[in-house]
């Protein structure tokens, strides 16, 4: 601050026109240059011109967005709940906690199922990542990460490794070993490097590729073995909080949601945003594809869950209730896509009828906010993790 309080009369060659003049210090993009007075005047007017183009760009973007909304609305001829009138209502749902997994010493932030339908990996605020056989509630592996707030964890498709990351800005892969002499942390592989916290990670169809989302506003696809960045995805205007891979036949897209209230669908091969949806009123905490791959659901801090159809290119349903005030932190579909399970920050889990748009059931049990929720691979149960240090399996 003190070096700007006096104006030294420096004489030398201007950084712009290179003529020998009396120079003034000028700051361009936090870099200090020395301009002569004429060039400084020119720069001042240029800056004005830049601001004008910024405003015109903004208005152009707004008008195009408006036109896009009009186009989307043209083909919207019926609402989901109207079509669903002829569907039989679901019976009374009795879902209970069937397993409670206690062992974390702090808030549980994330969990993922193994393809064997019974093992899960969970991560917490104190840096601990635990692999459980949730059927027997035995802990099988435990790793302590060097950072706190491990916000993302994932199980590899083969069941032989796990990936996790958080405030360390990295995603690390740990091969699971039963060798008592081996320390799991010794074989750790650092795969992804971001410039802000890691919010979500997921393996693609094999153990050899990982997709990550980060607080730095980008998503990225990495090669596990070499740690090479295969593709990066830019477009979110703020932290990216969640992602989900599409179950489509050609397996090429994924959806991400962020603090900019946008849900964006990306082409993994080209890195381009294919579709974007901006109807939420607050941060999107979780996105999950509908089992057919034609739609996805999102849960947000605005206390609603919404269903977006990819072929119709619009939002087709909102799942909300006046009595639900707190944000939804995580959502997942049942196997047939008929039920949507959503965990909320008011410690409850609401079960929605996807077709009729009504709430089927509300589940109490957790003593602090529900931070993560996933349905098991064969749809027999779902697991929820909470800030009350426990995980619960419901069926």
């Amino acid at each position: 601050m003190c070096d700007q309080t006096f104006l030294a009369n420096v004489f030398g060659s201007c950084d712009k026109c290179f003529k020998q003049r009396a120079l003034r210090p000028v700051f361009k993009k936090s870099q200090q240059l020395s301009y002569c007075s004429t060039c400084a005047e020119i720069m001042a007017t240029e800056a004005l011109h830049e601001n004008e183009t910024l405003a015109s760009l903004k208005s152009e973007a707004e008008s195009l967005k408006g036109k896009l909304e009009e186009e989307r609305a043209k083909l919207h001829d019926v609402e989901l709940h109207q079509v669903a009138e002829r569907v039989e209502a679901l019976g009374q749902f009795v879902m209970k906690t069937r397993r409670t997994l206690k062992g974390h010493g702090n808030k549980v932030l994330c969990m993922d199922w193994c393809k064997d339908k019974r093992r899960i990996v969970s991560s917490s605020q104190d840096g601990k990542v635990i692999v459980w056989d949730s059927f027997t509630t035995n802990k099988e592996h435990a790793v302590t990460m060097p950072c706190t707030w491990v916000m993302a964890c994932a199980y590899a498709p083969s069941g032989c490794a796990i990936a996790c990351g958080g405030l360390d800005n990295k995603c690390s892969v740990y091969p699971l070993t039963f060798d008592k002499n081996e320390n799991m942390a010794a074989k750790k592989k650092s795969v992804a490097m971001h410039t802000n916290y890691l919010s979500a990670c997921s393996f693609t169809n094999s153990d050899m590729q990982i997709l990550t989302a980060s607080g730095d506003g980008t998503c990225a696809l990495w090669d596990v073995e070499s740690g090479q960045l295969l593709q990066s995805f830019h477009g979110h205007g703020a932290d990216v909080l969640c992602l989900d891979l599409a179950p489509s036949e050609t397996g090429n897209t994924f959806v991400s949601g962020g603090c900019d209230k946008k849900a964006m669908v990306w082409d993994m091969r080209s890195g381009q945003c294919v579709q974007a949806f901006e109807t939420h009123e607050s941060d999107i905490n979780s996105v999950r594809y509908y089992p057919s791959g034609d739609a996805f659901a999102s849960g947000s801090d605005d206390a609603t869950c919404r269903l977006y159809d990819l072929r119709a290119d619009r939002e087709v349903a909102i799942y909300s209730k006046e009595s639900i005030i707190f944000g939804a932190s995580s959502v997942d579909f049942s196997l047939s896509g008929r039920l949507l399970f959503a965990g909320y920050n008011d410690y409850t889990i609401n079960v929605w009828d996807v077709l009729k748009g009504s709430r089927v059931s509300i589940l109490f049990g957790h003593e602090n906010r529900v931070s993560t929720l996933r349905v098991s691979p064969d749809g027999t149960a779902f697991c929820s993790g909470s800030w009350d240090h426990t995980l619960r399996v419901w069926a």
Partner: protein, 467 residues
């Protein structure tokens, strides 16, 4: 409160929409006509006006939102936990008792969204007041905080004590009822903002969310961000869309078709392992079994993807293709998948292997691709990358999907499998429901040898199910 620095502007309000919603609920609860019944509450000798009972609060919530009593009690408890409603009689705990216990609505001055984050100076003054008013009323954790603050803001301690004394003096001039109410309001505010150790803090946020507001502002101001948006909009305007009615009908048929296969919707036979503690369901539906269940074989008919994703289904399909002498199509597709999801270092080797085996003229298992796709693929092979075979792979996939797959479903082989497949019997309910069945453990996938992709050699994966 302290006449110190003004509280920070309500920035967190935008970030915590649930606070605004709670405030709306609380405001409508205080509506003179539609709100909760207010009454004057007698506390020892003082009469406090505008009080409500816990039971009335719960009933109002039940009626207003058409929810069950359990949910209303939960919602009421949440309102109390956030300090929007405070108890008059048990001021230490922010708990909603659904009976005659009196409560009052917190004044907007102390709302979480107006006065957040709480200032250290204010907390020091509050504790000092408590200490001065009655020696020894500070609870352990409060005493600790008091001592800690004393060391931390020692330089301002005179100000703290002076403010505390001033406020106590001003309070003495108020009516006893008002004094009691203000004391409760303040206490509630501090219970929310400085919870005792062990109690969860309702104001805790995930790290990084605080930066959301600033980064949002930062990123939207750049020109290239808008240029990207404009480009995206232009592309999006050109895309083809499907009518809503068509898309929505698709959900109905999908859910209807899959409903009986969804354990959480229709149950599962013999029993849901999580409910009965019996893992028979998983044994019967293991990835490789000799005798798949009827539901499983039915699923192969739902879509080509379902068939391929099931190892047993895929193996049977490979058999079928073998009979039609087109097994190389599936093998080619599998090899392409291996390339797409394989390690980066393996890409050149895999591409070469695929070319030699399936695409080269005179290759052992030559696949029939149309000339244009073949030309494009061969072009791309000059600079191999993991997506170089995408076009060819898609062509072969569609060929199998449109041609071989429908014939497979109509074939005697499939019909035979469907007829053979059995429906498991439902496990009889245990006579003594409290005796727990022993829960069998299963070997971790990390212990098993690396699974090999089911190949054309041999029939469906032999052996019994491996859990």
């Amino acid at each position: 409160m302290a006449a110190g620095p003004a509280p920070p502007p309500g920035r967190p309000r935008a970030q915590m929409p649930h606070l605004r919603k709670m405030e709306r609920v609380v405001v409508s609860m205080q509506d003179p006509d539609q709100g909760v019944k207010m009454r004057s509450q007698r506390l020892l000798v003082t009469v406090i006006p505008h009080a409500v009972t816990g039971g009335d609060v719960v009933q109002w919530l039940t009626q207003k939102f058409c929810i069950s009593e359990e949910e209303a009690r939960h919602l009421g408890a949440v309102l109390v936990q956030h300090g929007y409603i405070y108890p008059l009689r048990y001021p230490r705990s922010l708990v909603l008792r659904p009976d005659e216990t009196p409560y009052r609505f917190q004044t907007p001055y102390f709302w979480t969204s107006t006065l957040w984050p709480a200032a250290e100076l204010d907390y020091a003054i509050y504790l000092a007041k408590k200490n001065i008013r009655k020696q020894g009323t500070l609870v352990d954790y409060e005493k600790e905080c008091y001592d800690r603050l004393h060391t931390k803001i020692n330089h301002a301690w005179d100000l703290v004590l002076m403010q505390a004394r001033e406020q106590l003096r001003a309070a003495k001039q108020r009516r006893k009822g008002d004094r009691l109410v203000i004391a409760c309001q303040e206490q509630t505010y501090w219970l929310v903002n400085r919870p005792p150790p062990g109690a969860p803090s309702v104001l805790e946020q995930s790290p990084g969310r605080e930066s959301c507001a600033t980064s949002r502002v930062h990123m939207t101001k750049r020109a290239d961000f808008y240029k990207q948006e404009i480009e995206y909009c232009r592309r999006a305007l050109g895309r083809t869309r499907v009518k809503s009615s068509v898309c929505l009908e698709a959900y109905l048929s999908f859910c209807g078709q899959r409903g009986p296969h969804d354990p959480l919707v229709s149950g599962c036979l013999p029993s849901n392992p999580w409910i009965s503690d019996d893992d028979a369901y998983w044994v019967m539906n293991a990835p490789t079994v000799v005798a798949p269940t009827k539901l499983r074989v039915e699923r192969w008919g739902f879509s080509f993807r379902e068939l391929l994703e099931d190892p047993v289904g895929r193996a049977h399909f490979m058999d079928f293709l073998g009979k039609e002498f087109s097994g190389e199509n599936l093998s080619f597709w599998e090899a392409c998948e291996e390339l797409r999801y394989g390690a980066q270092a393996q890409v050149p080797t895999l591409v070469d292997a695929v070319y030699q085996q399936f695409l080269a003229p005179g290759a052992a298992r030559w696949v029939n691709i149309d000339s244009r796709t073949m030309e494009r693929t061969l072009e791309g092979l000059r600079q191999p990358h993991r997506y170089v075979l995408d076009d060819a792979q898609l062509h072969i996939y569609m060929l199998m999907k449109k041609d071989s797959y429908p014939r497979f479903l109509k074939s005697d082989m499939y019909k035979g499998l469907l007829a053979e497949a059995g429906i498991p019997l439902e496990t009889k309910k245990r006579v003594f429901p409290f005796s727990r069945r022993p829960r069998h453990s299963s070997p971790s996938p990390a212990l098993l040898p690396t699974p090999v992709e089911p190949t054309a050699a041999g029939g469906p994966g032999g052996g019994d199910g491996v859990a």
